[in-house]
Amino acid sequence: MARITLDNLAHSYLPDPRGEDDYALKQLDHVWQDGEAYALLGASGCGKSTLLNIISGLLQPSRGRILFDDFDVTHAATAERNIAQVFQFPVVYDTMTVRQNLAFPLKNRGASASYIAQRVQTIAAMIGMESVLDRKARGLTADAKQKISLGRGMVREDVNALLFDEPLTVIDPHMKWELRTQLKSLHRDFGHTMIYVTHDQTEALTFADKVVVMHDGRVVQIGTPEDLFERPAHTFVGYFIGSPGMNVIPAKIEGARAYVNGAEIALERGYTALSGKVEIGVRPEFARLSATEGLPVRIRRVEDVGRHKIVRAEFFGHDINIVAAEDENIGSDKTRVAFDPARVNVYANDWLVEGSAA
């Protein structure tokens, strides 16, 4: 197990990058703490696979260093890094049995037969595959194969980190949940440093202690699922996390008040004068319909998703979503929307602005 430090890291696929736009991965400094489970979340093409490939050693970064504990591995080959990786599509050695698959990394490193036998047995128990140890890996289901690749990673006791590259892509929906739970409990029991790349927010939020959200080659926020939900550091985080995502509305800020088309919205904190693109962000969960309070809104559609209702509405020419309780009666008198002042975030040029207590 190791702490992984990314120091001044950046990567471009172009041989001679000029502007910032040429970088697939923009400058990044981050420490992945030993033994924590991280999720790397972002849309396709945001640079998360680039980052993973740099950590696994498939790519050499254009700039910066990567350290495992205090040891610089920037130019070390994949094999020397002693990491494990589970890929998007199950990678198993088809012609080998499950047992041989699990033993393979140890055998290649010249471990003794008795040690291998004992380790394989332990790992098989961990991933719940003791009963199929002597079957050929070829005929197994996709989720069993993913477990084998995971087992092949964990069989080395000194493995520095386990990397997952969208490992549940080809798994049936009902097995996804089970595998994720299993992964989570393996992490709790054995404390490997895990980095899990995904574009699925549910996977990220349920798996990780800390979620690293990437957007456009940049890390926009690192935080607990709770942080991401309550205080998105970037409008992208607000939009990407949550279903539906955060409402982002252009506004003018004066002290502890925001104005949307001249209408006033109270804020909990005060702000100094902001320049550039100024917006307020409110999660649909923290907006509520009302007959008397708040600002005028025109309801377009109500979607009942069973657990709650999602109200699609128009607010001064902007689309907004409001989450209403399942038993809430949405009548024609509900013509106003009120926001919880403590939950209204202010963004300047897409980045969260911290206000001061008003």
Partner: protein, 289 residues
């Protein structure tokens, strides 16, 4: 569901039946016809039963030709398959050189069989051929028209030159279909180069290699043109393979009965081996799935 019997549907199969009859059954039946009859000329035939088959099974000539044929196929498979795999493993995976290599590899496959024969016939000649002359000049006693071993080497090298490309291209296609993640996983597992070949590349190539072996077996087992042009089956009968012997029997001696029986048994051997291959391949696929 109610099914209405309509026997007229049989007419729809008729075109296929006619086509297959003309393309395969009727020509084959003429051979069967010759194989069970004898004639003393004047186009009058009489029933000979299985005489020709009995004679054939008792003839050293046929067994010798069959032995040479099996040996030839075995030798060229033993050379072309590993060599083809080796070439494919060393071809560039992408870029300009990948295309250049593919074109170069495909070239021998485009040359007509008798041209290949003619090329090697001249290439190997001691008086004017580059290869034959150079070998002689280097003091090596090489003459494919007189020495049986030299004739075999020439014919085998010619076939290897002509057909290794096919195996290489098929193996290359198999290699190209392996996702990069497998190689990366192998690196993470610290697999040796040999282990990567043994446990990743070879299993992934198994399907196309079976096709390559099948194609090369069938082609080499039926080989006629190239050895006929180079050695004419000689010296003596050293390179008289089954089809060369068959043509000698049917056209040279005009022994249509024995030649018919010969053809049928030749056909059955190829059919049996191909069937065996097919069964193995289907089973391989099943295990994949």
């Amino acid at each position: 569901m109610q099914k209405t019997p309509n026997q007229k549907a049989w007419f729809l199969v008729l075109p296929v039946l006619v086509l297959v009859a003309f393309s395969a059954v009727i020509p084959l039946m003429t051979v069967v016809n010759y194989a069970v009859q004898d004639t003393f000329g004047n186009n009058r035939f009489f029933w000979a039963g299985l005489t020709w088959f009995d004679d054939l099974l008792a003839s050293d000539r046929m067994w010798n030709a069959l032995g040479r044929q099996v040996a030839f196929s075995a030798i060229i498979l033993a050379i072309e398959i590993p060599l083809g795999i080796f070439v494919a493993l060393n071809m560039p995976k992408r870029g300009v050189w990948a295309s250049v290599c593919l074109v170069l590899m495909a070239l021998p496959l485009l040359i007509p069989f008798n041209v290949v024969g003619t090329i090697w016939q001249i290439f190997g000649r001691v008086d004017i051929g580059l290869l034959g002359y150079a070998l002689s000049a280097a003091g090596i006693d090489y003459n494919y028209t007189q020495d049986a071993v030299d004739a075999w080497i020439t014919v085998v090298v010619m076939d290897v030159w002509h057909w290794t490309s096919l195996v290489a291209l098929l193996a290359y296609a198999g290699l190209q279909s392996i996702p990069g993640a497998y190689y990366q996983a192998a690196r993470i597992d610290q697999a040796s180069r040999w282990a990567v070949f043994r446990y990743i590349e070879l299993p992934k190539m198994a399907g196309v290699l079976m096709i390559a072996i099948l194609l090369r077996f069938m082609d080499s087992f039926m080989i006629y043109t190239e050895p006929f042009v180079v050695t004419g089956g000689g010296p003596g009968n050293a390179t008289t393979f089954l089809s060369i012997d068959l043509v000698k029997m049917a056209m040279g001696q005009f022994d249509l009965g024995p030649a018919g029986a010969f053809s049928l048994m030749y056909f059955l051997v190829i059919l049996a081996v191909s069937w065996a291959f097919y069964t193995v391949m289907v089973n391989l696929d099943k295990r994949e799935g």
